[in-house]
Symmetry: C2
Subunit: 241 residues, 2 copies
């Protein structure tokens, strides 16, 4: 790594660009290895800069760099759920999940290490960053439900589903990415509609959300397909009505 | 804590009893405060023994004592899901959740600190203990579904629901234990039946489980009540069929 290219690049890049270059290199490394298996030497090498330079930009060392990389990943993850409010809810959610699952796919080892905890660089600050993503994702989803002031049951339903999605992502990575990502995406959308419907039975605000969401679904859409697949399974249970 | 009682107790108790006495005292303290706010002095005082005695039994200090208390809590949590295979699935699950939520209620601060991570004494070993509870709970639930060899989709559904239950517990503690515990329990049971039914639309094994589970439900039971509450909400969506 003593080729002249990094030095020339160093002269050209602004502080912010240089910082971004180091974070991008760090994120790529953290994405494929657990944080404790990444050294500042590795990051300097991947970014094509010297180790002192990494320290100059990140005086807090690896912990600070890890938090910067994590914040950058958190922003990217939060953006996944930023979806225009157009069309049926199930399709909006499917598009958001496409982006989210692509991120999970790309950052697999790093994503697992981060969410499963037990990482040596995990602190209450990194936990807060991850929790921030969860809260931002929940706010994005709630905004699609088109209610002025989401009540506790609706909020809790959304937050529980987000936790399920995280759990599904980790299990999926652990199961060598089975089932195929499109099936996982559709299944997660269906689970959201199902738990929302359960809450609708207990909460008038959620009932309005479900009625309005179903009104926008089409007979060609994923919710209709779910209904057609599930009805034969539950049709024997007429004794319950 | 210089009263003669502890000394007399010390002479009477076996090593295992003494160890248990210290763990019980530690668990009570960890239940109400975050682990980093509990000192070995506190544990010794609560157990009515000297600090050197605590060190003699737990040569690894606070970390070892914390892990022992955690293992004891993990065993108690795992036992919550040990339910005889009798009656409708929804009622078995409700009884298991009654025990689980009573544990959450009793150990609130400690439960949150443990599951939310960021605790200074959290390590890969403590993470493994918590993960062991999740796996054991999943195995207990799968055993109630009465399938010889649960496939990946059925397993994933159960594990995702367990994560939802954890998330719900943390949100519930954070929301000053609202909704009331009985409502939370029923709601979680309903969510399980709902996500299981969604998976039934994608997986023949799960479809058999749902058919068999619904066959055991009665018109007075929670699943029937759920169906009666939800049908009016979804009945406008006939255009999807």
């Amino acid at each position: 790594m003593t080729s002249p290219a990094p030095t020339r690049a160093y002269r050209r890049l602004s502080v912010e660009e240089r910082r971004r270059q180091i974070i991008t290199a760090a994120l790529t490394l953290f994405a494929h290895r657990a944080p404790e298996e990444v050294s500042l030497d590795d990051v300097a090498e991947a970014a094509g800069v010297s180790r002192p330079l990494v320290y100059r930009y990140f005086t807090g060392g690896k912990q600070q760099l890890y938090e910067a990389a994590l914040t950058s990943a958190a922003d990217a993850l939060t953006d996944c759920f930023d979806e225009p409010p157009e069309g049926p809810l199930s399709l909006r959610l499917a598009r958001a999940l496409d982006r989210y699952l692509a991120f999970v796919d790309e950052h697999d080892a790093g994503f697992s290490a981060l969410l499963q905890g037990g990482s040596v660089v995990e602190t209450s600050r990194t936990t807060a960053i991850v929790d921030g993503v969860r809260r931002a994702a929940a706010e994005h989803i709630l905004s699609h439900l088109d209610v002025a002031d989401p009540g506790p049951r609706l909020r809790m339903t959304v937050r529980m589903w987000i936790t399920s999605v995280e759990a599904a992502s980790l299990i999926w990575l652990d199961a060598e990415k089975e089932p195929p990502v499109e099936e996982l995406r559709d299944w997660l959308v269906e689970q959201f509609m199902a738990v929302l419907t359960v809450t609708a039975g207990r909460d008038a605000q959620t009932a309005d959300v479900v009625r309005s969401a179903l009104g926008m679904e089409t007979s060609e859409g994923p919710v209709a397909a779910l209904a057609r697949r599930v009805l034969p399974v539950v049709s024997d249970a007429a004794h319950l009505l």
